[in-house]
């Protein structure tokens, strides 16, 4: 059997915003959406070894060996010039992790952890790895009390969800927009599968949190907010709903010309949603 490996752009040993308690977070490289509002655009695509970034690296941390771009973290000074020049929003600084590599990380940091969250990019583009990893965690005596979460854009089809849910404790799901045309402009894809995922996860008792990104003049209209409110209520008014506010930090390209979402407007919308009956609306603690 070919053991799955993951392409990982980043590992955090401390995160208090990716699910309950402190979590080890694996950011998997690659996404099936291409949102202009993404604040980590370099996580979107897998590197195709074009080599454009190699000569830009001031420390010589990048090299092409047998047609492959390799990164030497020991001399990289994290200037991110390589990310700036990459023509396809990829990242040469990724690392390949086997399931055992991640288990080793978990053993080492176990005393500090309540669980693990796979995020992205879009984590579910590497679903085989997630399923193998979570299965290994659940069957490991020392690790099985860690909870396993996925942070997702919801584009995964129903059958695929079913393959991973038995070993998954919860999913944090992003809904970008309710109007399908708007969703397509914001993500390049239809929202049909996303809404289906939300319902399916809710039924399976795995929907930990819904997230909705407020973008001025785009997703903050009354029509969208009403649709959001209705959608949540058809599931359960007490589902945690996290409102995020579009900011410019990390964003590349056209969305930099879009206005940032301001705190008073977010709070106003939160009040409106609460008045409509939603019981668990959260707003950002910082605006950066």
């Amino acid at each position: 059997m070919n053991l799955p490996r993951a392409t990982v752009s980043k590992v955090l040993k401390f995160s208090c915003v990716d699910g309950p308690g402190n979590r080890l977070v694996l950011f998997l490289q690659g996404c099936n959406f291409a949102c202009p509002t993404c604040h980590n655009p370099h996580t979107m695509k897998l590197c195709d070894d074009c080599g454009d970034c190699v000569s830009e690296c001031p420390t010589g941390a990048l090299a092409i060996v047998q047609g492959k771009v390799l990164h030497d973290p020991s001399i990289c000074d994290q200037c991110d010039k390589c990310l700036d020049v990459c023509p396809i929003n990829a990242n040469p600084k990724v690392t390949q992790y086997s399931v055992d590599d991640v288990l080793a990380l978990l053993y080492k940091n176990k005393p500090f952890l309540n669980g693990i969250t796979v995020s992205g990019g879009e984590a579910t583009t590497q679903l085989k790895f997630i399923a193998a990893l979570f299965t290994a965690i659940k069957s490991d005596e020392k690790l099985k009390d860690l909870t396993c979460f996925i942070d997702s854009n919801g584009y995964l089809p129903e059958a695929a969800w079913k393959s991973v849910l038995p070993v998954t404790d919860g999913v944090m799901l992003d809904i970008k927009a309710f109007d399908d045309t708007l969703h397509s402009t914001l993500t390049t894809r239809s929202n049909e599968r996303v809404l289906t995922s939300a319902k399916l996860l809710f039924k399976a008792d795995r929907l930990t949190e819904l997230r909705y990104l407020l973008i001025p003049e785009r997703t903050d209209s009354s029509k969208e907010i009403n649709a959001l409110s209705e959608f949540v209520q058809t599931l359960d008014a007490s589902i945690p709903l996290r409102l995020n506010a579009f900011q410019h930090h990390g964003v590349k390209g056209e969305a930099l010309n879009w206005p940032a979402m301001k705190k008073p407007d977010v709070e106003r919308i939160a009040v409106k949603l609460r008045e409509a009956g939603l019981k668990n609306v959260m707003t950002p603690s910082t605006y950066l």
């Binding site: 040993k13 208090c16 952890l113 309540n114 959260m282």
Partner: protein, 511 residues
């Protein structure tokens, strides 16, 4: 006018000081105009060059640096000297403590330790309703902050889960005062999950309490137990610490040719010189000052043979980086495995040296090693074994890098972890971080939450808004604001999102 008189005059006329602050600085200047306890030439030179340091404690030590009274004595037996009867009600007990505090000396002239308050007060609470308990303790807390405004004043609660501990933590989080500082002593065998959670919520609210790991501290002490004073000094109760002296490890590294020279020659030399400095100061306190004739000893609040000597070190980070550079390595302390291991080795050598040296007039005949958390003017030197401000890795990596040091510092070692405010909506993450740290051998845990007005500077608390006010109009009711402002400017402390430090005193008038 002589230089000395000019300094006196400067202090009396300084518009930025309150009259009590002026009185304190005047007394310090007076003490420091006396000759220093006699030192041999080599020790005097090392002190002059500040490779070793007396914390600017004054030339004529006439009181121990930290006094840790057993306040149960005055509560249970009263005091002949203070004309107090034994306390019979909660009001009487609190009142007796309020009186007692004024008679406890310390380096700052304010008590640095005000007791393990739940142990002290619980016996008087049986007939007191929850509401009355809350009201009475709240007034007590306000009194402490207003009358003894020094952030080094330290109260302890725990490890048991009890009404007094819970109420004190609740009040502390509500009032968000600088004083007193507060430690919750945690013991997983004794403390309930609920009170541990309450302590963590309170940290999120106001960066207090500091949490101490009882299973690691308790076995080092006897039936009198221990208390946590000032900035995380773990000291024998019914005694305290006569002195705190410290070695600037960076200066030691600078005087070494390479790592081998550091370990073989230079460090042993300064370890010895710092012992000699400590001995000279203890000799003055015990044999000349007459301190131990005090009623505190006669009535049994403290015992002459229960005073340890705190043997401090600081600037480990700069020391390791300096030695790494001398060896041609680039890895930095806190971030590089080799650098971190070198640091652990230095701590171990220090610990063994302190354990091996017999000392007179010191509790159990040996000093206790201490990772010392800095004065406000430690230009460029990082407190204790901490990782320099602003360059700390994530909290988990931070704890992992430093945990091995903790076994070597029985009289205290404090790290300050800076956490961003997103933790507010996820207190379980903080709880797990504390548990993880303790499991790895952390003796103590402190955190600053980045949007709290109340933050630790080197271990003492300051309000950021007070520092702002102090800068604008000069003058603060609270001693440590002055210190905090100094530390903030020199130590880049406020650079790091938020921060905790632990420390002691504004030992000199600096103008």
């Amino acid at each position: 006018m002589s230089e000395l008189l000019k300094r006196f005059k400067g202090i009396t006329e300084d518009p930025g000081l309150s009259f009590t602050q002026k009185a304190r600085y005047l007394s310090l200047e007076a003490e420091n105009s006396l000759p220093y306890p006699e030192l041999d030439e080599e020790t005097a030179k090392a002190l002059e060059e500040r490779v070793i340091c007396d914390m600017y404690e004054g030339h004529a030590p006439f009181k121990p640096r930290y006094v840790m009274p057993d306040y149960s004595v005055v509560l249970e037996k009263g005091s002949v000297f203070l004309e107090l009867e034994p306390a019979t009600t909660l009001d009487e007990a609190i009142n007796a403590l309020m009186i007692a505090y004024h008679h406890i000396p310390s380096v700052t002239n304010m008590p640095v330790f005000i007791g393990r308050l739940d142990n002290l007060l619980l016996p008087y609470c049986e007939d007191v309703s929850d509401e009355d308990l809350y009201k009475k303790l709240k007034l007590f807390w306000r009194y402490l902050d207003r009358v003894l405004p020094d952030a080094f004043m330290h109260a302890n609660v725990g490890p048991t889960d009890n009404r007094v501990a819970r109420t004190i933590m609740r009040i502390d989080a509500e009032l968000k005062q600088i004083a007193p500082n507060l430690t919750f002593i945690w013991d997983p065998q004794v403390s309930s999950d609920e009170i541990f959670s309450q302590a963590c919520l309170s940290i999120i609210e106001c960066s207090k309490p500091h949490i101490a790991n009882n299973p690691l501290h308790q076995p080092l002490f006897d039936e009198h137990g221990y208390g946590i004073a000032s900035c995380y000094n773990v000291l024998p109760l019914c005694g305290g610490a006569s002195t705190l002296t410290r070695i600037n490890l960076h200066e030691v590294a600078r005087r070494s040719k390479d790592t081998a020279d550091f370990f073989e020659n230079v460090l042993p030399k300064y370890i010895d010189l710092n012992f000699r400095l400590t001995e000279a100061r203890i000799d003055h306190l015990f044999n000349k000052s007459g301190f131990f004739e005090s009623f505190l000893v006669k009535e049994g609040w403290i015992s002459k043979d229960r005073f340890t000597a705190m043997y401090g070190i600081f600037a480990m980070a700069q020391c390791v980086d300096e030695l790494q550079a001398k060896e041609g390595h680039s890895g930095k302390y806190g971030h590089d495995e080799t650098a971190n291991q070198l640091g652990h080795r230095i701590s171990e050598v220090l610990y063994k040296a302190v354990e091996a040296r017999p000392m007179e007039n010191v509790w159990r005949g040996k000093a206790m090693l201490h990772s010392q958390a800095g004065l406000s003017d430690d230009n460029g030197c990082t407190p204790g074994v901490r990782i320099p401000y602003g360059s700390e890795p994530d909290p988990v990596t931070h704890v992992q890098a430093l945990a091995e040091h903790h076994a070597f510092y029985p009289s205290g070692i404090s790290e300050i972890l800076t956490l961003d405010e997103t933790i507010e909506s996820n207190p379980a993450a903080l709880e797990q971080l504390v548990k993880g740290a303790f499991q790895l051998g952390f003796r103590e845990f402190s955190a600053n939450i980045s949007n709290n007005d109340l933050v630790r500077i080197t271990g003492y608390m300051v309000r950021l808004s007070d520092i702002e006010k102090f800068r604008e109009c000069g003058g603060s009711r609270i001693n440590t604001t002055v210190l905090g402002a100094e530390a903030a400017e020199k130590g880049k402390i406020l650079d790091r999102a938020p921060r905790v430090m632990s420390h002691e005193l504004a030992p000199r008038y600096s103008q």
